[in-house]
């Protein structure tokens, strides 16, 4: 029974990894860009949800405009919205600015390094603003749970799992069947040909970053609700596990990121169950390396991904 409880916990943890891994895989699949700001956007959403519900909107000492603490529901909403805006700012200043300035971003290093810069800047600004401590997020009754055959499923976790799967399915549908989705896939495969047919990359790239912000924001607030605590460091471990999940599932594959994220979450929880917490990193990264030896493109990956030109 404890084992099944751990499986359920693993799936719940995995669903956070899934959301972040999908954000990674979307940006890699379409733009061939490993966006290092993703973990920090995740953290930003969690920290803002906490800060807005505890302190209100920061006004840096400007008198008479104090906006006090808001209910947690409103805080979640504003936190996600702010994360989307932050993601668009990252697009504006890493991807677009440097690309228009230095031309063809086949120079992968430039967006990569500048996104790494954003990661550090945002993380440290949050530290300066709110300190480095782990904070309790006063969410809904996180311990509200249903008991199914002896396994306790916490309601917020169940709801998040459904939301995550719904968003991923929707995203997948958009990519497969909508005009914007076809445009994104055209850019991903052959930006020159896409341009010839009138697809405007400068209009579609922000869509990718908006979706990235949305996914990260969602993952961040879901994490805050489910685990009841946030910190400026919360993105570091989640980010690397999400990358592991994405690579495991196969770069650029949405469902690959879903399966990969869940596998990583399960591996983590079951390793803790059987061998204790010290072995988690070895198990997770060992599993990843083993998969890469046996199947370098990942479980659902396509070998052409990672060779894009935009």
């Amino acid at each position: 029974m404890l084992f099944l409880q751990q499986v359920s916990n693993g799936i719940m943890l995995g669903s956070v990894y899934v959301t972040v891994a999908v954000a990674f895989t979307l940006t890699i699949g379409v733009l061939n860009f490993l966006n290092f700001t993703i973990p920090t956007l995740f953290m930003l959403a969690g920290m803002l949800a906490w800060a807005l519900s505890t302190w209100g909107v920061p006004t840096w000492g400007v008198p008479f405009v104090h906006i006090g603490p808001m209910p947690w529901q409103a805080a979640l909403l504003f936190a996600v919205a702010a994360t989307v805006v932050a993601s668009l700012l990252v697009e504006r200043f890493t991807f677009r600015f440097l690309k228009t300035r230095y031309g063809d971003a086949t120079e992968h290093a430039i967006p990569l390094v500048s996104s790494l810069g954003f990661l550090l800047i945002i993380e440290n600004l949050v530290r300066i603003g709110y300190g480095t401590d782990t904070q309790r997020f006063p969410g809904p009754q996180a311990d509200m749970s249903v008991n199914i055959g002896g396994i306790f499923l916490r309601v917020p976790q169940l709801v998040s799992l459904v939301i995550v799967l719904g968003i991923v399915a929707g995203l997948n549908w958009i990519l497969r069947h909508s005009r914007i989705g076809r445009g994104l896939r055209a850019i991903a495969e052959n930006p020159d040909a896409a341009n010839i047919l009138g697809v405007q990359a400068n209009k579609l790239v922000p869509v990718v970053f908006m979706l990235t912000g949305l996914l990260c924001g969602l993952a961040g607030v879901l994490f805050a609700i489910n685990y009841g605590e946030v910190s400026p460091q919360m993105g570091d471990d989640i980010g690397s596990k999400a990358i592991a999940g994405m690579v495991l599932g196969g770069l650029g594959s949405i469902w690959g990121a879903v399966i990969g994220g869940l596998i990583i979450g399960l591996t983590e929880m079951l390793t803790i169950h059987f061998f204790g917490a010290d072995t988690v990193q070895v198990a997770v990264w060992g599993l990843l390396l083993l998969t890469l030896f046996l199947r370098p493109q990942g479980l659902f990956g396509h070998h052409s991904i990672g060779k894009g030109k935009l």
Binding site: R182, A193, L197
Partner: protein, 244 residues
């Protein structure tokens, strides 16, 4: 005048790929641009389509100056390029490739144009839901042209369409070009297959090292022995041995 290019220059860094080119295509014409490898033909097309910004000169289409406009704007107005090497999307199905041709269509009529492409190319209709990667070279060229047609172009610019096709397909291709022209589409054809190109075109231009060195009626160019020797290399002015 449908397309009017005046004093066009294209530079890539220090390379001066296209130098002061003047050319025009009248409504309903087939015009060919000839030249050896590296003569600047593809650079010229890239500038006409808006993929590179010209370093000078102007491009007018149907009376409007499009020099500073985006590729998307040109597509909307009816200029469409069929690029060298087809450039179809191999990760998409045949049908999705054709839908990409309608990417900017806002009018409700694109479905009819899509249907007429399927009517014109029954092979594509049969393979509608297959990945485009399974098509033969000739079928891929049909797909690239079909994709262009779904945008309902007034001017189709073809970059080396016969490259890599079997002789039989080359014949079909040139027949298709004539057919499209009869249906009212103007054609700008860039080719290395000089003999075939001059057979379907009414006029031609010859590029050498980025500059126009000759222009005239197709018959006059075809009969111009100097053309063959001076500018086009071996396979000019005499029929391609494998094109018959």
């Amino acid at each position: 005048m449908l397309l009017e290019v005046t004093g066009l220059h294209v530079r890539y860094g220090r390379t001066h790929a296209v130098k002061a080119v003047d050319l025009h295509v009248a409504e309903g014409e087939i015009v060919t641009v000839l030249g050896a490898n590296g003569a600047g033909k593809t650079s010229l097309l890239r500038a006409l389509h808006g993929a590179v910004k010209p370093a000078g000169g102007s491009i007018r289409f149907a009376g409007d100056d499009l020099t500073a406009q985006s590729s998307a704007e040109r597509v909307t107005r009816g200029m469409m390029l069929v690029p060298e090497g087809r450039q179809i999307f191999v990760s998409m199905s045949v049908h999705e490739n054709l839908l990409m041709g309608a990417y900017l269509r806002r009018d409700g009529d694109w479905a009819r144009d899509l249907k007429s492409v399927y009517d014109r190319f029954p092979n594509l209709a049969e393979r509608r839901d297959m990945p485009a990667s399974v098509l033969s070279g000739g079928e891929q060229q049909m797909l690239a042209i079909g994709r262009a047609l779904v945008s309902r172009p007034r001017l189709v610019m073809l970059d080396e369409p016969s490259l890599g096709l079997s002789p039989l397909f080359v014949n079909n291709l040139f027949n298709l070009i004539k057919e499209l022209n009869r249906d009212g589409i103007s054609i700008l054809l860039v080719e290395q297959n000089t003999a075939m190109a001059l057979e379907v075109a009414s006029r031609g231009y010859v590029l050498e090292l980025g500059s126009l060195v000759l222009e005239g009626g197709a018959d006059a160019l075809a009969g111009n022995a100097a053309l063959a020797e001076a500018y086009l290399g071996d396979h000019a002015a005499k029929p391609e041995p494998d094109a018959a």
